[in-house]
Every structure is written in structure tokens, then in C-alpha cells.
Amino acid sequence: MSEIRKSWGLHIGVVSLLLALNFILPDYHHGNLARVMVLACYAMGYNILFGYTGLLSLGHALFFAAGMYGMSLTVQHLGWSAGPAIIVGLASGLAMSLIVGILSLRTAGVAFMIVTLMFAQAGYLAALYFGEYTRGDEGFVIQKAARQIGGIDLSDPMNRYLAALVLFAVCLFITLRVVQTGFGRVLVAIRENEERTRMLGYDVHRHKLLAILLSGTMSAAAGASYGLLFGYAGATFASVQYSIFPLLWVLLGGAGTVLGPFVGTLFMFYLIDLSSDISTAYMLIAGLTLVLLTLFAPQGLVGELRRRTLRWLP
């Protein structure tokens, strides 16, 4: 079996497994897994930029929040229905990543990290500043009546899980497809050696910009869906912490692997879930994980698996 067919088989298998879990899982884990799938889309968006292109952004919460607020503010204040509102969320994510991309790609390395961090911080502060509409840190609840697409009630746990799965499958297959095409290979080439890629005649700047657009829009899709499926939008999702999370998930699962972001998100979610039973200082676990990862497993879980046995993993 060719490597491409093997990897499609694996990823379709994962999606079918998740579909089957819909009917078996107890309520609590059913809800958790829906949440993890949406957050994994955020991590997959982040992975395209960080894992495949090698650009470390510390400001992806800006895109997540752009999607979330683009969707929720149009629902809340303009009274739009959920379908068009999601489009607005995606469009704001796209616009935001275009602006940030054009500006921040003039820098590289540490400067790129700080510039993205500063933009995201400005976005977070803006969400607080316009507290009249966003209600700041407190946030606002999106009414149950507004959370419907084509008559399907997305606040119902079963529909919510399936909607999350659809989004997850779309993001997963987009990532898989991108990685297998020439475009994805150029991104990896940029990560490995930017100068050499330029010498080979590829337009490095254009590829990086496209990577930011794809990454930012996918993050925005996750943000918009998160708001819609769980019925809440708040400034916390724009804070630095939410820029750090996808980095953590991707590093944990394996940067530059298609399944890594999902594995990392799942692992981290349950790690924090279990540890918050023990202590209120659950972010301690996140901190320790980050330090231990940089020390001992810079490749992440799926990355280690690929290094040791499954060399064909995309």
C-alpha cells in the first residue's frame, strides 16, 4: 500500500472512530470530546504555521477571537442567524491574518514572536476597551434560539458533537491534503532552510503569507464554532493564555504532524481536567509540561512515534 493511501486510511479511520464514539461515550466525556475536537481545529490551524512553516507565533488568540467575536457580535448585536454569522467570523479571521501577515512577515525569528504577541495583546485590550459590546472578561452568552443552522439545534449535545466532528474532519483533511501537495512541501522546505528554498526559485514570502492566511482562517473557524457550539464569547479567549495553548498542544502532540494537534489537545485537556480536581493551580501542569517537553521530547508524542516506528506518518 502506498504511503499516501496508508495515511488517508489512518485519518479516515480516526474520524470514523470519533463518529462511533458519539454513540458509546457517557455524557461527560461526550461533551469533553466535542470541545477537544473544536480546540484541536485551532491547534491544527496553529500547526500549519508553526509545525510546517516553522513560524512561531505568540498571537494566535487574535485569530481565534476574531472568529469568535466576528460570529457572536453579529448574532448578538445585528441579530443575524448563525449561518451567515459564521461566514462573518471566517471573514474577520481572514482579514485579521492578512493584516498581521503583511506586517509581521517583515520581521523574523524573535522579532516575529514579539510582534505577533503585541498584536494579540492589542486585540485583547481592544476587546476590553469596547466592553460595551463585548462585555469584556465577563463575556456574554449566545442565546439558545440563535444557535441553529438550517433548523438544526446546535445546543443539543448530539448535534453539537456531530457539528464538531464535521469541522474537525474538514480541518484534518485540509491539513492532510495541504501536506501532500507541492504547496505543503514548499512550506516544509521553508522551515528547513529558507535561503535554499529561495535559491530554488520559490517565492518564500508569498508562501509564508498564504500559510498565515490558512492558519489564521482555520483558527478563526475554530473560534466561531466554539462560540456557537458552547454558547459563550468572552475576552479570555483573546488573552495571551489562549495564544500559548495551541503552542502547547502542538508541541505536546508533535509539531509538523497531521494528527499531533488532536493528540496533544486531547492529552492536555484530560491532564488539566484531572489535575483541577486536585488543585486550583492547574496551570502549573501546563508550565511543567512545557518545560519537560522542551527538555526531553521536542518532537512531541506523534513526532516521537514517527521517529521511532511509523516513518510514513504525515
Binding site: T107, Q121, A122, G287, L290
Partner: protein, 308 residues
């Protein structure tokens, strides 16, 4: 009330911010200049300094000056020990790789913050200032009897705030002397200039790195001890100063000492001025966007010679 008293009030508050900020930013800038790494956990050293100051001061009874003095002498070295331990356990082992260091120091940030939350708790606690007399500031006005002094209501400062400004000036001078007049300063500058050549000439680069990381943390902790009688000690207090000192270091040019001080004055005073007249959130939005644009269009900073 007219405009002038507001301006003076803004200027004074700004000078206090600038004093604390310059100490903290100097620590960040030293670490970046010599070690070429960005320490995201720097704000937590500031917080640890403030929290330790509360812990130490609460051991003393009697006049608050004793507790404060003890805090001033003990908290910064203790914080430096934590930093040196982190350096040996983590940073050294990832060989100061710039990107991995950022990730690791983000981890450190959460560890320090959450351990403080677990031990010290979520409350904000004050340390009493060693002296805290109110000083009213007179203004000159022109009346029909010639020049005369008057005391506008609400315009004033405290002796402690003035002492903070003085202390910062003295400490900065001290660091300047350390950098230019001592053997340790020479080693530091040699390592900053060219790590490999320094090593070839027998400079113990590893120990210099550890010392610089400790010194940077101690400076942040000193800033924390100095601020804690004005602003209470809280486990999340490191966040805003971290952002501000990033701004200062970038505007001043990474690794440039005079640039850092000028930028701290600029940012501190404009922060004081802007927050007297505008909402502090708007001031922060303008400042963060300003930094982003400085980095994009002038990567070497306003005073620095090197880029990132």
C-alpha cells in the same frame, strides 16, 4: 483645577513608573544582550521579589523600616538563586536555543506563578512603607502683589515615592559602574561581544551566563520590592510590567543600556501622562501597537545598533 497641576501629577507618577521600569527592563536587556535569549518569565521574578518582600516584612514587628530593609537586602538575592537554579536545570540544558528558550520560559512563568498561588494565595497584600510623609507641591502664580506660591488641592507626592526615584538612580549608576569598572563587567561585555572568542580566551562563559541571569532576576526583584509599598503584592502582578519592560527594551534597542534608560523614562512618563488624561486601556493599546510598529519598521530600536 487647571491643567498644570495635572501635568505635574502625571509627571511624578510617570517618574516613579520609569524608575521601577528602568530597573526591570535593564535586567531583561542584560539577559538578552549577553545571553541572546528572551526571558518571558522576567515578570515573575518581579512578582517573586514583591511577594518575598511581604513574607520577609511580615516576620518583623515594630517599625516598618526594619522589615522593609530586610526585604530589600534578602529578597533580590533569593530571587537570583531561583533564577540561577532555573538556568542550570533548564536553559543550560537546551543550550540557550532562542525559540526553545521562549517556550521553556513560558513554562517557567506558569510554574512560578502557580506555585505562588498555591503557597501565598490569591490575595493582594501590602507592605508598609518605611516612611511615607505626604508632600504638597506649591505652584507659582502671578497675582497683583507679584509672584506668590499656592498649594493646589490634591497635588502632592510622598517621600517614599521620591525615595524610589532616588534609589533607582543610584542602582542604575551602580550597574553602570559594574559594567564599565569591574572585572565581572569586563567578562560580561566580552561574552556579549563574541561568545566563542571569549570562551577561547578562557572566560567561563557558562558561569557568566548563570551570573547574568541571576543579576537580571535580582534587578526585577529589586523593582518588585521597591514597588510593593505603593502597589500591593499579588501573584498576577508580573504581567503588565513584563509587557512594559518588553516595550522599553525594544524601543531602547535590545542590549543597549543608555537606550533602555532613555526609553524607560519615555514610556514611564508618557504612561503617567496618558493615564492621567485617557483610559489606561487605551494607553496600553496605543503602546503595544507602537512597539509592534517599531519592531516592524525599525528593528534596531530607536537607540540600538543591532537588530534582533
Amino acid at each position: 483645577m487647571e491643567l498644570v497641576p495635572y501635568l505635574i501629577l502625571g509627571l511624578l507618577e510617570g517618574l516613579v513608573t520609569a524608575a521601577v521600569l528602568s530597573l526591570m527592563a535593564l535586567g531583561l536587556s542584560l539577559v538578552f544582550g549577553v545571553m541572546r535569549v528572551v526571558n518571558v518569565a522576567h515578570g515573575e521574578f518581579f512578582m517573586v521579589g514583591a511577594v518575598l518582600a511581604w513574607q520577609i516584612a511580615s516576620l518583623f514587628e515594630g517599625h516598618p523600616a526594619w522589615g522593609f530593609l530586610a526585604a530589600l537586602l534578602v529578597a533580590p538575592p533569593l530571587t537570583a538563586c531561583i533564577a540561577v537554579a532555573a538556568n542550570q536545570l533548564v536553559l543550560k540544558r537546551i543550550e540557550y536555543d532562542p525559540e526553545r528558550t521562549i517556550v521553556a520560559t513560558i513554562g517557567l512563568l506558569y510554574i512560578i506563578q502557580q506555585v505562588t498561588l498555591m503557597t501565598y494565595g490569591p490575595d493582594a497584600r501590602p507592605v508598609e512603607a518605611p516612611f511615607n510623609q505626604r508632600l504638597s507641591i506649591p505652584l507659582v502664580e502671578w497675582t497683583e502683589r507679584g509672584l506668590s506660591l499656592y498649594w493646589p488641592w490634591g497635588l502632592g507626592t510622598t517621600t517614599y515615592k521620591l525615595a524610589v526615584i532616588m534609589a533607582a538612580v543610584m542602582l542604575l549608576t551602580g550597574i553602570w559602574m559594574l559594567m564599565t569598572r569591574t572585572r565581572f563587567g569586563l567578562l560580561m561585555r566580552a561574552t556579549q561581544l563574541d561568545r566563542e572568542t571569549a570562551q577561547a580566551f578562557g572566560i567561563p562563559v557558562g558561569r557568566v551566563y548563570a551570573a547574568v541571569f541571576g543579576l537580571g532576576a535580582a534587578l526585577a526583584a529589586l523593582a518588585g520590592v521597591l514597588i510593593v509599598p505603593i502597589q500591593q503584592a499579588h501573584y498576577l502582578m508580573g504581567h503588565d510590567p513584563l509587557l512594559l519592560s518588553f516595550i522599553v527594551v525594544i524601543i531602547g534597542g535590545l542590549g543597549s543600556l543608555p537606550g533602555t534608560i532613555v526609553a524607560a523614562l519615555l514610556i514611564g512618563i508618557s504612561d503617567g501622562m496618558i493615564s492621567v488624561f485617557f483610559s489606561p486601556t487605551l494607553a496600553k493599546i496605543i503602546a503595544t501597537l507602537g512597539v509592534a510598529f517599531v519592531l516592524i519598521f525599525m528593528p534596531q530600536g530607536l537607540f540600538g545598533k543591532r537588530g534582533l
